[in-house]
Symmetry: C2
Subunit: 388 residues, 2 copies
């Protein structure tokens, strides 16, 4: 079965050899042909070959599916009370991340699966077609493995984040926990994970611990990524570049050397503006990274503590408003950028050969994702050419 | 036909005599009975009377429908290019508001109606059940009347805003245009409008012109509201209070005297954070107004130039993040506050006797409107008790 997707509006391909030759490879009055779930042909609608089926986007823009390369979707419970207290500037005496760890451990597999399915569907209907999902609210071998097993039911991009924080039962024994993560926990996580991640931050894991954890993961075949420089300047970004991590995530507090290192590397700087929005924190300096030549991705960081949004359109709008990305830079970062952050050449663009993951918008241009903030503009989502 | 809406989550009534006694009148494990489109009973679900039909919100929160008291939905065309240039910090040589005036004048009635219907539906499905709609892109007697006629097909809350800007053909003859607005245009608008509004701002209409226009409208029976103190300190707020206008809208640049005047009046301070979001401008100081005792409303300002969002949940989230409103204050402002800004005691709350306009959320608490920014959380909308 072949499918033709037609738009008299604009088609964003992220293939600069197509259309207007920009990074977005923008084609107007375009058609895209899907065969066997992949893009088989892209070009001027008047030259499109005949196909079995047609989806007419009319004047709606067509964009590659969002690649959300950073989420924490395996959890139970919510922390609305903590959020409301933070927004009111009040001290909060609850348990923070520990609350989510306790709720996650107490939940059944079915509860974790149902919550994840709900959030995955929510993301999908807002145009997210590839999603990375981390563990990190289990923090025991059994609970981390269970989290990854459930995550793997929904995505190939699973990340072992046993090193999210040191759990309460290891208080004062950080190094014992690091040993557990590097040993038994890593080995048990391995069959269910593609990536290994660590929260390298004051109060979580320092540079030496983070290096040990990432090297242990790499030693058994996991690929590294890292939570780096979110709350303070720290060694995370340098470590990411040293280990050729696919991505350094957050990048809120960067030295000139950090920016230069990222620009000279294949490590993507993944920015997570939902976290700054929801914690009322200063945003990362996207322009500094872009102007230095670093590759920038946008992701949601969806989690119940610091960024409980699944909405990549929202992240695009905030990136434009607050981080001074252009709408084109923000869309590229949320699609092609995310794909680079996951080292996935098959997604995040609509060049020939790509997986036919795309969205049709209720808008004439992708610019509307930022121009019309908060409005649900995703009309139709295709996964491998199949309408969802 | 009687209807029962049940929620084991929370029901926001905005009636402080109900539930927890807060301004939101929050009832848990609640039921609400609708008869003849109005709320007939509210209370503990275990005491609810029998009804013909039941809507079970399960653990979803139930909130009053949003009252969006400030929109400019009668127009044609869009200004995505102008938006993108502004976000990139580039000069824009296009026509600004004049572009929309030209497109609106050139559009057929059917085109204006279709665009308005699309935006009205978009707003409705995000929980807006009462909407004010202004003219102001016609700027000739025929085009203003036509705009109001189309708007009146969608809402009783129509506002004559012939005094939006001075149109190009009256350049250098402001007072002639004011005379036209106060005379023939006002008289022709009257059958189609409830309100009269003026953009009182440097570059638009000064305090004396604004007073003349509002008094002319009031003289024929229209009720006053005013665009005040958006871009600069100006006389708008004082004029609003002097004339007992229902609302002074924007309120971004206020003196202490302005704040005191609002607090001592029945004029609502309507804040429009979508405009500051989309123009990258400083936000109004909501806390200063709230702490002085002024009544605050939130509205979308939906228009194609400076705030092209229909999403009241988005405005709530931004009000919490940027204007330091609590989630409870923001929800109240977007519902009961909007109703006061339209002097409509029958909407914006769910006390007995209110119109049964409400939304069921895909969330256990109204807090999620801010906690989960950008996520479409409105599951079901009822207008006068009828699911939409």
């Amino acid at each position: 079965m072949s499918l033709l997707v037609r738009s008299i509006g604009e088609l964003v391909t992220n293939d600069p050899s197509l259309g207007d030759g920009s990074a977005l490879g923008l084609v107007r009055d375009a058609a895209l042909v899907v065969e066997d779930g992949r893009v088989a042909w892209v070009g001027d609608a008047s030259h499109a070959p005949a196909t079995d089926r047609v989806i007419d986007a009319e004047d709606g823009a067509v964009i590659p599916g969002f690649v959300d390369s950073h989420t924490h979707l395996v959890f139970a419970g919510d922390r609305a009370g903590e959020f409301a207290a933070r927004m009111a500037g009040e001290p909060y005496t609850g348990g923070g991340i520990g609350t989510t760890v306790a709720a996650t451990r107490a939940a059944s597999d079915g509860e974790l699966r149902a919550n994840l399915a709900r959030l995955r569907d929510e993301a999908l209907h807002q145009g997210t077609t590839t999603i990375e999902i981390k563990s990190g609210y289990g923090l025991s071998t059994a609970d981390e493995v269970r989290s990854l097993r459930v995550a793997r039911e929904f995505t190939a991009e699973t990340t072992f984040l046993g090193a999210h924080v040191v759990p309460a039962e290891f208080e004062g024994r950080d190094d014992d926990y690091v040993s557990l993560v590097c040993g038994e926990m890593m080995k048990s996580a391995l069959p269910h994970a593609r990536w290994v991640d660590v929260f390298c931050e004051r109060g979580a894991f320092d540079g030496d611990q983070a290096r040990a954890i990432l090297l242990a993961g790499m030693g058994v075949g996991l690929l590294p990524r890292i939570h780096a420089n979110q709350l303070t300047h720290g060694p995370g970004v340098q470590l990411a570049v040293e280990l050729d991590a696919a991505s350094a995530d957050h990048c809120t507090h960067l030295s000139d050397a950090d920016v230069d290192s990222l620009a000279g590397s294949t490590t993507v700087a993944t920015l997570l503006p939902g976290a700054e929005f929801s914690t009322r924190s200063p945003y990362p300096d996207a322009r500094r990274l872009l102007e230095a030549g670093a590759t920038v991705a946008l992701a949601s960081d969806c989690n119940p503590g610091s960024s409980y949004t699944t909405s990549m359109p929202f992240c695009v709008a905030v990136a434009v408003r607050e981080m001074r990305m252009t709408p084109a830079e923000a869309l590229w970062a949320a699609t092609a950028g995310g794909a680079r952050a996951l080292r996935r050449p098959d997604v995040g663009h609509l060049g020939v050969g790509a997986v036919a993951d795309l969205s049709v918008l209720d808008a004439a241009s992708f610019v509307h994702l930022a121009y019309r903030p908060g409005v649900p503009l995703v009309r139709t989502v295709l996964l491998s050419g199949e309408p969802q």
